[in-house]
C-alpha cells in the first residue's frame, strides 16, 4: 500500500474523529454546566462532595477502564489504595473518590 496514501487516510480518519470528539465534548460540557448550575441552585454540600467524587472518578479511573458494575463496599478502601498507586492519585482525589464509591 502506498505509504503517502495510507498516511493521508489515517490523518483524515483521526481529523474526523477529533472533530466528532470536540463536538461531543462541547455538548457534554454544556450539559455538565447546565446540570452544575441547576445543582448550585439547590446547593447541598453532600451533593457537591459527591459531584467532586464523580468528576474525579471520570477524570482518573475512567480514563483507562469502566467501573465494575458492582462490588462490595467492604473493599472500596482497598480498591482506592490500589488506584492511588496505579493512577498516582493525590490524597485528596483518593478521599473524594472514596466518598463517591461510598456515598
Amino acid at each position: 500500500m502506498n505509504l503517502r496514501l495510507s498516511t493521508y487516510a489515517v490523518c483524515t480518519v483521526f481529523a474526523v474523529q477529533i472533530g466528532a470528539a470536540s463536538l461531543s465534548a462541547f455538548s457534554a460540557t454544556r450539559e455538565h454546566s447546565q446540570a452544575s448550575a441547576s445543582q448550585a441552585d439547590s446547593a447541598q454540600r453532600p451533593a457537591s462532595t459527591e459531584q467532586a467524587g464523580t468528576t474525579k472518578f471520570k477524570q482518573n479511573c475512567a480514563r483507562c477502564h469502566e467501573a465494575p458494575q458492582s462490588f462490595s463496599p467492604r473493599m472500596s478502601g482497598t480498591i482506592l489504595r490500589h488506584m492511588r498507586v496505579r493512577a498516582s492519585l493525590s490524597a485528596q482525589d483518593e478521599r473524594d473518590i472514596l466518598r463517591f464509591l461510598n456515598p
Binding site: 469502566e66 482497598t78 492511588r84 498516582s88
Partner: protein, 349 residues
C-alpha cells in the same frame, strides 16, 4: 487433601497468594480495607497468516492492605496456547505459561510520595501500566512498539518512587522513577535499568501529555525516549490515545480511538455496549537489531475492532488487522471474550 503442585511456577504463585492473605489478615484491617481478588478470565483466538491459536487465559490480581500505609499487590497471567503442529502434521499442540506481572509492596510515605519495592511494571509510556490487563485493553494484541523502553521483560526488580507532585482544578503533575537490578530468578527476570515518566493532566480539557525515559544499564547501555498524548473528554463519545517511542535501532508510534454510540445510561443495551475501536501503528527501523522486539522492516498496521460490553462485566473484543511491510503483507484476526471478576477475600462485618 491438598497436594503441593509439582510445577515450580505454580508453587511460587500459590505461595505468593497465601503469603499475601496471611499478611493482610489481622485486627487492624478496617471495614473498607478487606483484601480483594480481582482479575479476568477469558478465551482468545488469533488467526495470523492462516494459523489459528486458541488461548484460554486467567489473570488474577491480589491486593491486600496492611495497616494504613502499606499495600501488597500482585498480578499473574496463566494461559495455555493451542496451535497447529506445523510441518504438515495434523492436529494441535499446546504450550502453557505462568508468569508474575508484578509482586510489589507499596508504602504510602506522604500524600505526594509512594515508595514501591519488589517486582513492578516498568513505568515507560502508558500501555504497560494501564492497558495490559486483559479486562481493560480494547485489542487483544499489544502495540508493535510495546517492547521499546520496557527492557525486554516489562517488569523491573528493585525500587520505584511515584506519586502526585501537585494537583489542583486546572492541572496535575504525577511522576514515577525507578531503578531495577538484573535478575535471572525464575518469575523475577529483569534487566538492570533505570528510568521514569512524568505526566501533566489538564482536567478541564481532559488532555494528558507525558514523557518517558529509560536507560538500559546491562551490557551495552542504551537510551529509550517516549512521549504520549491522551485526550479523553469525560462523557464524550470519543477517546483518543497515542504514544511514540524511540530506541537506538527503531522507533514508532500508535494512535487509538474508541467510540461510544451513547453515554446515556438509559439507552438500550445494544447502543450502550457497542464500541467500535480503531488503531493505527507505524514502526521504522534505523538499523538491524534482532533483539529489540520490533519488526525487522518498516511496518504499517491498521487495526479495526468492534467490542461489546455485556452486563455483569463481560466483554467481547474482535478485531481485524492488516499489516503492510516489505517482508510481506498479512491479515490478523482476533477475538476474545473476557469476564472481569472482583470479590473480597472473606466476609466482613
Amino acid at each position: 487433601m491438598f497436594k503441593v503442585p509439582e510445577q515450580p511456577k505454580l508453587r511460587v504463585f500459590l505461595l505468593t497468594l497465601f503469603t499475601l492473605l496471611s499478611l493482610a489478615k489481622g485486627p487492624r484491617v478496617a471495614a473498607q480495607d478487606t483484601p480483594l481478588i480481582s482479575g479476568g478470565v477469558g478465551f482468545v483466538t488469533s488467526t495470523n497468516g492462516g494459523n489459528t491459536t486458541y488461548i484460554p487465559v486467567v489473570s488474577p490480581l491480589l491486593a491486600a492492605p496492611i495497616g494504613n500505609h502499606v499495600l501488597v499487590e500482585s498480578r499473574a497471567t496463566i494461559l495455555d496456547s493451542f496451535f497447529p503442529k506445523g510441518g504438515g502434521q495434523p492436529g494441535y499442540t499446546s504450550d502453557s505459561f505462568l508468569g508474575l506481572s508484578y509482586l510489589q509492596m507499596d508504602y504510602l510515605a506522604t500524600p505526594h510520595l509512594t515508595v514501591v519495592a519488589g517486582e513492578f511494571l516498568i513505568p515507560f509510556g502508558t500501555y504497560n501500566e494501564r492497558l495490559t490487563p486483559i479486562w481493560i485493553s480494547n485489542f487483544e494484541s499489544a502495540p508493535l512498539i510495546f517492547p521499546l523502553g520496557n527492557m525486554e521483560t516489562a517488569s523491573g526488580v528493585g525500587g520505584m518512587i511515584r506519586g502526585s507532585a501537585f494537583s489542583n482544578g486546572k492541572v496535575s503533575l504525577d511522576y514515577a522513577g525507578y531503578f531495577s537490578a538484573a535478575s535471572t530468578v525464575e518469575q523475577f527476570n529483569s534487566q538492570r535499568s533505570s528510568g521514569g515518566r512524568a505526566n501533566l493532566y489538564f482536567p478541564k480539557t481532559s488532555l494528558e501529555v507525558g514523557a518517558s525515559y529509560g536507560r538500559l544499564l546491562q551490557n551495552t547501555h542504551q537510551n529509550y525516549e517516549g512521549v504520549h498524548l491522551w485526550w479523553e473528554p469525560a462523557d464524550a463519545r470519543v477517546k483518543l490515545r497515542s504514544e511514540y517511542a524511540h530506541g537506538p535501532h527503531s522507533q514508532g508510534y500508535w494512535m487509538e480511538s474508541e467510540f461510544h454510540l451513547t453515554r446515556s445510561p438509559s439507552a438500550n443495551l445494544f447502543r450502550r455496549g457497542l464500541q467500535p475501536v480503531f488503531r493505527w501503528q507505524q514502526t521504522f527501523r534505523s538499523s538491524p537489531d534482532s533483539s529489540d522486539g520490533l519488526p525487522s522492516a518498516d511496518t504499517n498496521q491498521a487495526d479495526v475492532g468492534l467490542d461489546f460490553h455485556f452486563p455483569h462485566d463481560v466483554r467481547i473484543n474482535s478485531s481485524y488487522s492488516r499489516q503492510f511491510s516489505s517482508t510481506g503483507d498479512r491479515n490478523i484476526w482476533q477475538t476474545g471474550i473476557v469476564y472481569r471478576f472482583l470479590f473480597p477475600t472473606w466476609r466482613g462485618k
